[in-house]
């Protein structure tokens, strides 16, 4: 019963994984994809010397860490909201899960339009309340050009990532939250503990491990995904919002240097491995 799944995974995950390593050590291109000439670590050395690579590495780390921080806070908030019963809860659930229901690529295009350099409704609101435009706090221009500036672009990618992963991390953590016995909260309330005291002394400790797992789980996906950047900033201006997965795609598929693309993608792996082992150890400690 186990065999079909195992065979499938070996054929389409394990084998390609080792193929990726072999590719990164070879000279393969899209035109000549055969893995013949082994060049050792040459690909790794040459990709590291690329200015774009350094931007990509830096941004991948910054975006992942910033997303992690924001996601943690907002997940706790949403879990606290949805752990209660209130009128209209079903509607709230539908609205809150919406970002996750949209295919990422299409949602990213939606954000591209929301953050448009000329017609962004956010700019319009800022102009309407007098924060944007000539002679205001946010500068003389009529627009903020969210995707055309280094740090605004990185910030935009972080917000989009948080927006689209929040429903999933909320669901995972909510599963743990509803498993905490109600007596615990009732007892604490009888003892006169306030809301924040209960949150920090009962809820969060009980959720700590699941919260970590849920967040790592979603963050790993973000670290390895290129969709948002590919469709919004495209790594620009220059390479200032480039990230590793997208750079691997540009170099390996668009640029035709399969071997170098594979080398860039492999830089992801040590991080992913370390973080996943950490997440798993926690998950299993929780199960015991």
């Amino acid at each position: 019963m186990l065999a079909p799944a195992v065979i499938y995974v070996i054929a389409l995950v394990a084998v390609p994984f080792f193929l990726a390593i072999a590719l990164s050590l070879s000279e393969a291109t899209v035109g000549n994809p055969a893995i013949q000439q082994f060049v050792g670590l040459d690909n790794f050395i040459s990709v590291v010397h690329d200015a774009a690579f350094m931007f990509a590495l830096r941004n991948s780390i910054i975006i992942t860490v910033a997303t992690l921080a924001l996601l943690t806070i907002l997940t706790i908030l949403q879990v606290e909201l949805l752990a209660r019963d209130f009128p209209g809860k079903r509607l709230a659930q539908i609205l809150l899960i919406l970002p996750w229901a949209m295919p990422v690529a299409l949602a990213a295009v939606g954000w591209l339009w929301l953050l448009d350099s000329e017609f962004s409704p956010i700019d319009w609101i800022l102009r309407a309340v007098g924060l944007l435009g000539p002679g205001t706090v946010l500068g003389p221009a009529n627009n903020l050009f969210y995707l055309g500036r280094e740090w605004l672009g990185i910030g935009a990618v972080v917000i989009i990532n948080v927006w689209r992963t929040l429903p999933l991390s909320t669901i995972i953590v909510l599963a743990g939250r509803t498993a905490i016995p109600n007596e615990l909260f009732e007892q604490a309330e009888l003892d006169g503990a306030g809301y924040f005291r209960i949150l920090f002394q009962i809820t969060l400790p009980a959720l700590a491990i699941l919260l970590t797992v849920a967040i790592l789980f979603t963050v790993l996906v973000i670290f390895g995904d290129m969709t948002v950047v590919a469709l919004t900033t495209r790594g620009g201006p220059g390479y200032t919002t480039e990230i590793l997965p997208y750079w691997a795609y540009l170099k390996g598929i668009q640029g035709g240097a399969l071997s170098q693309g594979a080398a860039i993608a492999l830089f992801l792996f040590p991080v992913l491995l370390a973080v996943s082992i950490l997440a798993l150890r926690m998950a299993y400690r929780r199960q015991e």
Partner: protein
């Protein structure tokens, strides 16, 4: 005491409203855009949230009659359904047999299966591109049907594993001594208890296959085989020309109905992640 409670209520609803607003703001903007006339949309002086000119259906008409959007929709749906089926066929038996394997071997294999999920598409798409080309599947929907289970099978196996584990052995053993076959026990005892987990798997497998962009963009370049995720941006963004209304309509048409379905299944999805099942009263 009274004011404390009122304050709490106000805080609760304020937080809820802000959360919902953050979640739906982009979608609301998409929905408004989809019905706007060009002259209304491309005037920075207009209030973007109002219809300064009467709304129009012409962009949605354009989307369905003059683009390949219906083809993309069909491809996505077809791929999603087949991937869900393949995922269940592979993951359910795998999870069940792993859950019933005692000792270290069972546990280590489940760790291994989860690690597989954590290998991201970014690491695999270059070699898989070669595999797909080698098999002659490039530019067909089958290339995607072949590779999407690499994402869904490990995840679903891992999820279902904890479900089957939490089903007490005694229930199954009692059924076995009553003369049921192993297969009968699996179908009539274990499967019904794992329904929340299986529901979550179905939703996940479908959502993941619908959402994928990287494989869809790399493996398929012919329009006829494209999915919504890869097809819509390439078809409706032509160089510097963005068909914004049609793009937004294309997104909303997929996203809104799915949000309603997933939203109504919300409690099931939460249950799907619950490792500890409530003990069956008949146990």
């Amino acid at each position: 005491m009274r004011t404390g409670q009122t304050l709490r209520m106000v805080g609760f609803y304020a937080a809820l409203l802000l959360s919902c607003a953050f979640a739906i703001f982009p979608a609301a903007w998409m929905l408004i855009t989809a019905f706007k006339r060009n002259a209304d949309l491309y005037d920075p002086a207009n209030n973007p949230f109002l219809f300064n000119l009467p709304p129009t259906l012409s962009h949605i008409g354009f989307l369905f009659t003059e683009t390949n959007y219906p083809v993309f929709l069909w491809n996505s749906l077809f791929i999603g359904v087949v991937v869900v089926a393949i995922t269940l066929v592979l993951a359910v038996p795998a999870a069940y047999s792993l859950a019933r394997l005692m000792g270290h071997w069972g546990e280590h294999s489940s760790i291994a299966i989860f690690l597989v999920y954590l290998i991201p598409p970014t690491l695999l798409f270059i070699p898989l591109y070669e595999v797909v080309t080698l098999l002659g599947l490039a530019n067909t929907v089958w290339s995607l049907i072949l590779v999407y289970p690499t994402i869904t099978v490990p995840f679903c196996t891992w999820l279902l594993l904890s479900f089957f584990r939490s089903i007490p052995r005694e229930i199954e053993e009692a059924a076995l001594t009553d003369g049921w076959s192993r297969i009968g026990v699996f179908f009539r005892v274990a499967l019904p208890l794992a329904v929340p987990g299986i529901t979550t798997c179905i939703v996940f497998a479908f959502a993941l296959s619908l959402s994928d962009y990287i494989y869809a963009a790399v493996f398929v370049s012919s329009t006829a085989s494209r999915t919504v995720s890869a097809g819509v941006p390439t078809e409706l963004i032509r160089g510097d020309i963005y068909y914004w209304q049609a793009l937004m309509a294309a997104t909303a048409i997929v996203g809104l109905p799915l949000a309603v379905v997933y939203g109504l299944l919300f409690d099931w999805l939460v249950k799907g992640f619950q490792v500890e099942l409530p003990r069956s009263p008949r146990a």
